[in-house]
Structures are given as structure tokens and as C-alpha cells.
């Protein structure tokens, strides 16, 4: 594999299509998306539901494969990788935060946070120590032995942030992380993301909420699987139109 050069974009999508064949009609969830995201950026991908932003995130996160096009992550051709190599990428390079938190209900907070470390092969003792540190960072160390259902939504999302950080990922992918939260807790979660960005991590935030998106340094707006805007968050073009939203 090619050596990753500093001047290369961390994430490079070129002419990516994702086409779902449903009977007669072909749905273009992504319709020729090309984009570069550099190290340390805080990018919001916005769009109405069905615009393809979730598909875009799934592909960037190596959770899904495009129908055609190319995708390079840190200089490496993701589409040429086998399942095992992609699992390693998800384990070490990527960190996910989901709208529905997606904590495993039967595991306690520590065990949830430990997932990435578990699959990285870290010893149990070390995993536990580090998961406690991470929970400490999100202010939930005292609840380490609780299960997710004993926590509020905001607390669960903070656990999810701690979990996303467990593998020391370069990229944090957050899919509507504030979507299920009230605005106060939402701001709190966003605060954590900004903090992580300040530490040098690349943040990719998926949202349909303009107020949230404006917190990012750069907005990529998708409509019907195409990029219709890519630039500063203060442009009127960046926002999702109210009628489209409704």
C-alpha cells in the first residue's frame, strides 16, 4: 500500500455512487460524490432525510461499500481491503457516535466503552483502567457498573463518546448525535465534539439541524445524493431549506 503523505487528504471520495435496485427503479442514494476531508477538520454533512448523508457516512465509516467510485482513507484504498483490514480500520482509525447511542444493553458502561480495546486485543486489566479514565472524562466514572438503561439519554450519549474514543481514532463519525437529545444536552454533546476537534481529531458530523451544523468549520450539503454546497458554514447556501426539512 502507498505511503500516506501529509499533503494527501485524510479522506478522499471520488465519484462515489451508491445505487439501490428496488424492483424496476434504481435509487441513487449517492450520485457521484467527490470530496476531500483533511486531518483536523470539523465537517458537518447536512441534508434532508433521504439526501444520502447517512449512506455517505456509512461509506466513510467502512460500514457499507459503494456501488462504484473510489475511497481512500489515510492514503489507503479502502475498497481493495478485505473484511479483516476494514475491521482494523474501524477499530483503530474510526470512532462512531450514533443517534440512538447504540450501547449494548447487557453490558455495563465500562464494558461498553471497552469494546474497541477488546477487539484490539488489550488485556482485561488495562481495558478496565482505560475505560474508567474515559468515563471520568465524560463525568460518568461513578456509574461505571451501571447498565445503559439506568442512564438518561444525554448520559448514554456521553458513554457513547467515551466508547468512540477508546480506540484513539483519528476520525470521529457522529451520526445525528444530538437528534434524540434536548437542546441543552445537545449543546453539551457538541461541546465534547469541539473539544475533541481541538485535540486534533477529525470530526465528521451528520445532521439535519442547521443550528448544529453551523458549529462546524465546513458544511457539505447533500441533496438527492449530490453535493450541492461545500464550504463555509455562514453562507445561505449551506443551510437546509425549511420546506425541504418539513
Amino acid at each position: 500500500m502507498a505511503e500516506f503523505k501529509q499533503e494527501d487528504a485524510l479522506i478522499r471520495l471520488e465519484n462515489v455512487f451508491k445505487i439501490y435496485q428496488t424492483g424496476e427503479t434504481a435509487v441513487h442514494a449517492l450520485d457521484g460524490v467527490t470530496l476531500d476531508i483533511n486531518r483536523g477538520e470539523f465537517v458537518a454533512i447536512v441534508g434532508a432525510s433521504g439526501s444520502g448523508k447517512s449512506t455517505c457516512m456509512n461509506i466513510i465509516g467502512c460500514l457499507d461499500v459503494p456501488t462504484s467510485g473510489s475511497y481512500h482513507l489515510a492514503g489507503e484504498d479502502v475498497l481493495a481491503m478485505n473484511d479483516d483490514a476494514k475491521a482494523k480500520l474501524r477499530n483503530k482509525t474510526l470512532g462512531f457516535i450514533f443517534q440512538q447511542y447504540n450501547l449494548i444493553p447487557k453490558l455495563n458502561l465500562c464494558e461498553n466503552v471497552e469494546l474497541a480495546m477488546l477487539y484490539a486485543g488489550m488485556s482485561a486489566g488495562e481495558r478496565h483502567k482505560r475505560s474508567l479514565q474515559l468515563l471520568e472524562q465524560v463525568g460518568l466514572a461513578d456509574k461505571a457498573n451501571n447498565v445503559p438503561s439506568q442512564l438518561s439519554g444525554g448520559q448514554q450519549q456521553r458513554v457513547a463518546i467515551a466508547r468512540a474514543l477508546a480506540g484513539e481514532p483519528a476520525v470521529i463519525l457522529a451520526d445525528e448525535p444530538t437528534g434524540a437529545l434536548d437542546s441543552q444536552t445537545g449543546r453539551e454533546v457538541l461541546g465534547y465534539l469541539k473539544l475533541l476537534n481541538n485535540e486534533g481529531r477529525t470530526i465528521i458530523l451528520i445532521t439535519h439541524d442547521n443550528a448544529i451544523a453551523r458549529q462546524a468549520q465546513r458544511i457539505i450539503r447533500l441533496e438527492d445524493g449530490k453535493i450541492v454546497y461545500d464550504g463555509q458554514p455562514d453562507s445561505p447556501e449551506a443551510v437546509v431549506q425549511a420546506e425541504v426539512q418539513a
Binding site: 475491521a87 482494523k88 447504540n102 450501547l103 447487557k106 453490558l107 477487539y119 484490539a120
Partner: protein, 423 residues
């Protein structure tokens, strides 16, 4: 994939759904428990078989001549004893005359359990356990003179004569069918005594024949008898010994050699082998049944695991999103199946060990081949004889668990992350 992590997840899933857990484990538990009982019983019976035969010479052949068939061979003692000289395989011959329905009486006391057998002095070679602890065994002169002498079992000496010291029994007079018999020897105690050998007493076969009141020839060589013990020079010559006897029977009965098979029955160490096979067959059939139960248990685990995989799609998706590769997921579910069947095996063993013991306490005896009613020895309860059935049955359950866990585990690893996370 961490083994401890998988164990924790497996236990929590078992705990969370108790009815499903019971459904999943029932087959395994019953299968393992029954296998433990059967294997324990089987090893007990095997022990019984070897104990039964240990009293006899390993190269003993027992021959019964069928006297009720047409042109039945009339084999005399002389014919049979002649084989010792003419055959290189046969080293000793003794007739066996059982004195049926007869009590032993001493000073007005009666011993009902006594068995009285008429044999020749050569019988000692065939049943080395008949060594006299006091006095002597029968001798040729006792036979030829039809002496009213007897060699008694140790239990007879103790219970009927009340002798702690066997020497005291010598010279005492017993009554057999109203006739007085002098005790000339007491046999050493047989341990363990599964066929009541300690209650047996031996008298000369000539005397026994006289007791039964049958008219007999003046010379003992001319006695026609039905049952003979034949001792061979080696266990390996059982076939040769049998053929020698067959040739004699063909000669005596005037039938062609090939038509002698219906004239006699033979049992020997081959009968021990046969009896072992009987036990094996019995155990095998029973094990087959518990094997089927185990198999059903395995299918139960598979079904429940398959359901669990569908239910836990999201969990699988999350695990994959955080770096689990396909083998990690497969291992997790296979470990869960392994732990579950292990849990089932443990329960099965906990039920099966006491159950096996109980069964052997109350079962009494089992009819097995030539050994006849073989007593199950309830004292044969050392931990090791219960332990290996437990280990074997558990191993089978664990193996099945892993085999049947494979399909659900494959299904789990093949799930696509996006499909898992969709709903």
C-alpha cells in the same frame, strides 16, 4: 476475542431469559444425566462380569450336552477324560452334577441357600478360587470310592457350623438329603462374592449321582453325564478345544461332524467376552437413546442461538462497528454455545451422579448372558467410577454444543453492519 468477556455475555443472556434458557438446556441436561447413569451402570456391570469370571480359570470351557435331541450323544466320563491324553489342548476335565433342591443340615439347623455340586478332583484346576483354606479339596480316591465327603464354602462354615476358625469345621458331619457327609475341607472366601460362591459345597460327582438316585454304571468311566467342565492349555485355543470336543461328539453320536452343532452348548472365556458384549450392547443401546436426547438438546441450543442472533443483530452490528472482525463474532457465539452446553452438562452431571448411584442401589440384578443374573454391586461407589462417565458425557455435550453453535455463529458473522444497524 476475550474468553471471559464471552462468558460474561453468555451468563447474562442465560439469566435474562430463563424460560428460553430452560428450553435450551432441558435436552442437554437430560441427555447428560442419562448418559452418566448409563455409563456408570455399564461400568458397574462390566466390573460384575470380570468379577464373576475371575473365580474361574481363564481357559475354562463349559460344555453342556443336549440329551433331549434325537440321536443325542451319550458322552461318558471316560470319553471326556480320554481327551486329556489325546488332545494337546485339553488339560483337565470334570463332570458337573448339580444336586438340586437340597438343604444342608447341621445339628438340626438348615441352610437354604446352599448349592451342592458334584465334581471331580480336576475341578480345582478350572476354578482356582476353590483352593481350600483348611483341609483339602476332593481327591481321586474320594471319587472312585463314592465317599460321602464334602468341601464346603466359607459362608457355610461360618453360618451353618458357626466356625470362625475353619479348622474347627473339619471332621464335622453334615446332612445332605438325609445322608451324612464328612467335611474334609473349607474353601477360601471369594471376594467380592457376586454369585454366592461362598455358599457352594462340592462333593464327588459319583456320590452326587448316587444321591440323585439315578441308576449308574458300576464304573465311573461309564457314567453318561450332560455337563462337563473342560480346561484348555490356553485361552487362545478355545476354538481348537471346541473342535476337539465336537469331533468326539460326532464320533459318539454317529453324526457327521458338520451336524454336531445342535448337540451341545459351549461357554468359556468366550462367554465372558460374550457377556462383556452383552453389557456393551445394552449400554450401547441405552447410550444411543441418550445420544438422541443430547442431539435434540444440541438442536435446541442451535434454535435458541439462531433466534438470539436475529434478536441481537444490533449488538452484532455495534461490535463490528468497533472493530470486531468476522472470526471475533463467530468465536463469541460459539463460545456462548460452548458455555451454554457446558452449563447444561454441569447440571446434567449434578443430577446424573446421584441418580446413577440411586439406580445402582435399587436395581438389584440384571440378566446378562452366561453370567445369568448379574448383581449390580451397590458398594462399587468410588468417585472415579462415577467421574469418568461424568467426564465422557460432558465432553459429548460440549462437542455437540460447539457443533450446533457453528451454524448460528456463521449466521452472526455473515451479517452486514448496515443491515444490523438499520432498524
Amino acid at each position: 476475542m476475550d474468553i471471559k468477556h464471552a462468558l460474561g455475555v453468555a451468563l447474562r443472556n442465560l439469566q435474562a431469559n430463563k424460560i428460553r434458557c430452560a428450553q435450551m438446556l432441558l435436552g442437554m441436561v437430560i441427555g447428560v444425566a442419562s448418559a452418566v447413569v448409563i455409563l456408570y451402570m455399564g461400568s458397574n456391570l462390566m466390573q460384575g462380569v470380570s468379577d464373576f469370571y475371575s473365580a474361574y480359570s481363564p481357559s475354562l470351557m463349559y460344555m453342556g450336552v443336549y440329551t433331549s435331541v434325537e440321536k443325542s450323544p451319550r458322552v461318558t466320563v471316560g470319553d471326556m477324560e480320554g481327551l486329556i491324553a489325546s488332545s494337546e489342548y485339553i488339560t483337565a476335565v470334570s463332570p458337573l452334577v448339580s444336586v438340586e433342591d437340597c438343604n444342608l443340615r447341621y445339628n438340626g439347623e438348615t441352610l437354604a441357600d446352599a448349592q451342592i455340586k458334584g465334581v471331580s478332583e480336576q475341578f480345582l484346576q478350572m476354578k482356582p478360587a476353590c483352593q481350600a483354606a483348611a483341609g483339602r479339596f476332593l481327591q481321586p480316591l474320594d471319587i472312585s470310592r463314592r465317599q460321602k465327603v464334602c468341601v464346603i464354602g466359607s459362608a457355610v462354615a461360618e453360618e451353618l457350623l458357626g466356625c470362625q476358625n475353619f479348622e474347627d469345621a473339619l471332621g464335622q458331619t453334615l446332612k445332605i438329603r438325609g445322608e451324612n457327609f464328612t467335611v474334609i475341607g473349607v474353601l477360601a472366601e471369594i471376594q467380592p462374592d457376586l454369585e454366592k460362591g461362598n455358599y457352594e459345597s462340592y462333593i464327588p460327582y459319583t456320590t452326587a449321582k448316587q444321591l440323585t438316585g439315578e441308576i449308574i454304571a458300576p464304573l465311573q468311566e461309564d457314567y453318561y453325564l450332560d455337563i462337563y467342565y473342560v480346561n484348555l492349555n490356553s485361552v487362545d485355543n478355545i476354538i481348537n478345544g471346541r473342535d476337539t470336543v465336537r469331533a468326539l461328539l460326532a464320533e459318539v453320536s454317529g453324526r457327521p461332524y458338520g451336524e454336531t452343532t445342535g448337540l451341545f452348548s459351549l461357554s468359556t472365556r468366550t462367554s465372558q467376552k460374550y457377556d462383556r458384549e452383552c453389557v456393551m450392547g445394552l449400554v450401547g443401546k441405552l447410550l444411543g437413546v441418550s445420544g438422541i436426547v443430547l442431539l435434540v438438546g444440541g438442536v435446541g441450543i442451535m434454535n435458541v442461538m439462531l433466534a438470539a442472533v436475529s434478536e441481537r443483530r444490533r449488538e452484532i452490528g455495534i461490535r463490528k462497528a468497533f472493530g470486531a472482525n468476522n472470526p471475533d463474532i463467530r468465536r463469541q457465539f460459539m463460545l456462548e454455545a460452548f458455555y451454554t452446553s457446558g452449563f447444561g452438562a454441569l447440571l446434567g452431571v449434578l443430577i446424573g451422579m446421584p441418580a446413577g448411584w440411586l439406580v445402582c442401589q435399587f436395581m438389584g440384578s440384571v440378566p446378562i448372558g452366561y453370567a445369568g443374573e448379574l448383581m449390580i454391586n451397590p458398594d462399587l461407589l468410588d468417585l472415579s467410577s462415577l467421574l469418568w462417565p461424568a467426564v465422557a458425557a460432558s465432553a459429548a455435550a460440549l462437542l455437540l454444543g460447539v457443533l450446533f453453535g457453528y451454524l448460528p455463529a456463521r449466521k452472526a458473522e455473515q451479517l452486514e453492519i448496515v443491515d444490523c444497524m438499520r432498524e
